[in-house]
Amino acid sequence: MFPTPIERTSRTWQISYQTLLPLALILWLLPLIAVAIFSVKPDIDFANANYWGWPTSFEGFTNYALVFTGSDMPQYLMNSFRITIPTVIGAVALSCMTGFALGVYKFKANIWIFFMFVAGNFVPFQILMVPVRDLTLQMGLYNTITGLVLFHIAFQTGFCTLFMRNFIRALPFELIEAARVEGVAEWRIFWYVVLPLMKPAIAALSVLIFTFIWNDYFWAVVLTQGVESQPVTAGITSFNAQYRAAYHLMSAGSIVAALPPVAMFFLMQRHFIAGLTLGAVK
C-alpha cells in the first residue's frame, strides 16, 4: 500500500495524521458549512451584519418550512423528479440493449457505432443547442417535461452505452456460448443470461445518471421556462430573485435543491463510485 500505512509509521506522525484529517475536512467543506450555518440563522442576524457569529437563535425549522410553503420550491422539486426518473429508466433501458449488441456481437460496424456513441457523448452542448431547441419547438414539446426528458435520454445513451458495453465485455463469454449451444434464442440470452448479470452496472448507471440529470442546468434553461416545467436547478434562480438578500432562505433553498443527489450518493455509494470510474479502473 502507498503511502506507508499509518500503523507502520512513527507515533508522532500517527497523532498528527489523526488531527490533520478532521482539520483538512473542515477546510475542504468550509464553503458548504458556511451555507449550512446560514440556513439556520434568523433574519435579524443578517440585518445586524452578524454573518459569521453564532446564530442568535436557531431558526432552522422556520427557514426550511418557509422554503416549502412560501415559494414554488415544491413544484420545482416535483418537476426535477418527473424529469430525472423517466430519463434514468429510458437511458438505462436503451443502453442495456445497445451495450448488449456492441459487447456481445462481432460485426464490422461495431467499433464505429461504439465510437459514434462515445464521441457524441463528449460533444459540447452548444453545438446541439439551436437545432435541438428548434426540434423541440416544432414537435410542440418546448417548455414541457417530455421534451426535456426525450433529449436527456438520447444524450445520456451515449455515456450509458460506453459503460454498458465495457461492462458486458468483461462478463464471461462462455456463458453466452453455452446458451447458444443449447439453442437458446438470442433475445432470450439477453433477457435470461446477460441482463441478470448486469444488475450492478444498472445500479451504478442509475445513480450516476440520476445525479447528472438532477444537476443539469443548461438544458433546463434552453428547453424550458417557468414553474410548470423547470427543474430545481433552474428554479433556484427565480427562488433567489424572490428572496433577494434573504441569505438564510437562499441557503436553505440551495440545500434543499442539492439534497436528493446527495442522499442518493450516500445510499448507493459503492455503485456510484463504480459508475464514475467507468469500470476502467477496477
Binding site: P5, F38, M116
Partner: protein, 305 residues
C-alpha cells in the same frame, strides 16, 4: 393451414439462419435512432446554420461565411477564447490535487470511509449550488475569503468584480468538485496498485517522491487517462458556474465560448442563431481535437486486447 405452417417454419428458419447477424441491429435500432435524431444530426445542422443569419422565427438568410468573418473582428470572441484556454490550463490542476488528496486519504484508520465520502461531497452537488456557495464565499461585504484575508493582514478583494481575477475565481469554484472527482478516480486506482512492486521498490530504497513518481504514478495510468478526459471535457463545458456567478461579467470579462454562444443566441442580447452556431462550431472544433485523441487512445487499447 398446412401452407401457413410451412410458410411460418420457412420464415422461422430464415430467422434462425440470420439470427446472429440481425439481432445486434434490432437491439441497436432504438438507441441509434434516438442518438442520431437528437445528437448526430443536430451537429450537422449547426454547421449548416452557421452559414445563415436567422432570428429563430422568420426566414433564414444565407450569408455564406459572413458569421465567421464577423467572429474574426469580434473582441468578445477573443476574450472568450482566451478564457477557454485559461480554463483548460488551470482546470488541469484538479488532477494533481486529486492525486494528492487521494494519497492523503489512502489509509485504513477508523472512519476513513466516511472521510472519503465527505471529501467527495462537492462533486455530487449541482454546479448551480456550487456557484452560489462560492459567490457568497467571495462576497466583498461578508464573504469568508475576505474574513480570512483580513485575518492574515491582507487587504480585502472583490474577486468576482475584478476583471483580472474573475475567471480565476470561477475556475477555483469549478476545481472544488473536479478535484473531488479526480480524487475518487485515484482512490480507486490506488486500490489496484500492485503491493509486490511497492515492496520491491522499498527494498531497493525507493521512498516518498521517487516511489510515487517511478512506481505508483505509472500504475495509475488508467485513472489518469479518465481524469484527463473528464477534466478537459469539464473545462470546455463550463457554463453553469459562469452563468450563476457572474453572468459573464464584469463587462463580459468572464465569458467563455460556451457562455458567449448562449448569450448571442438565446438571451436578451438578441436571437442570432446563425452567429451563435458559428461560435459553437469553433468550440466544437477545439473539442474535436481532444475527442479524436481520446478515441485514438481507446482504439489502440481495443486493438491491443
Amino acid at each position: 393451414m398446412a401452407q401457413a405452417s410451412l410458410a411460418a417454419s420457412r420464415q422461422n428458419s430464415w430467422w434462425h439462419r440470420n439470427q446472429q447477424q440481425l439481432t445486434p441491429w434490432l437491439f441497436l435500432a432504438p438507441g441509434i435512432l434516438f442518438f442520431l435524431f437528437y445528437v448526430i444530426f443536430p451537429i450537422f445542422q449547426s454547421f449548416n446554420l452557421s452559414l445563415f443569419e436567422w432570428d429563430g422565427l422568420g426566414e433564414a438568410e444565407y450569408v455564406g461565411l459572413y458569421n465567421y468573418e464577423e467572429l474574426y473582428w469580434d473582441e468578445a470572441f477573443y476574450t472568450s477564447l482566451k478564457n477557454n484556454v485559461i480554463w483548460l490550463v488551470l482546470y488541469l490542476a484538479a488532477i494533481p490535487a486529486g492525486l494528492f488528496i487521494a494519497l492523503f486519504l489512502n489509509q485504513t484508520v477508523t472512519g476513513i470511509r466516511l472521510y472519503k465520502s465527505l471529501f467527495f461531497f462537492p462533486f455530487v452537488i449541482s454546479q448551480v449550488v456550487v456557484g452560489l456557495v462560492f459567490t457568497w464565499f467571495y462576497d466583498p461585504t461578508f464573504g469568508l475569503l475576505n474574513v480570512m484575508l483580513g485575518a492574515v493582514g491582507l487587504p480585502p478583494m472583490n474577486v468576482l468584480g475584478d476583471e483580472n481575477w474573475v475567471t480565476v475565481g470561477i475556475i477555483v469554484a469549478g476545481l472544488w468538485p473536479q478535484t473531488a472527482y479526480c480524487m475518487i478516480l485515484y482512490l480507486t486506482g490506488l486500490n489496484a496498485v500492485d503491493p509486490e512492486q511497492i515492496e520491491a521498490g522499498r527494498l531497493d530504497g525507493a521512498k516518498g517522491w521517487r516511489m510515487l513518481w517511478y512506481i505508483i504514478v505509472p500504475q495509475l495510468r488508467p485513472a489518469t487517462f479518465i481524469a484527463f478526459v473528464v477534466t478537459i471535457i469539464g473545462a470546455l463545458r463550463s457554463f453553469d458556474l459562469i452563468s450563476v456567478m457572474t453572468n459573464g461579467g464584469p463587462f463580459g470579462s468572464s465569458r467563455v465560448l460556451s457562455f458567449y454562444m448562449f448569450e448571442v443566441a438565446l438571451s436578451e442580447y438578441g436571437f442570432r442563431m446563425g452567429y451563435g452556431a458559428a461560435i459553437a462550431v469553433v468550440l466544437f472544433m477545439i473539442m474535436l481535437a481532444f475527442i479524436a485523441y481520446f478515441l485514438w487512445t481507446m482504439y489502440k487499447e481495443e486493438r491491443a486486447r
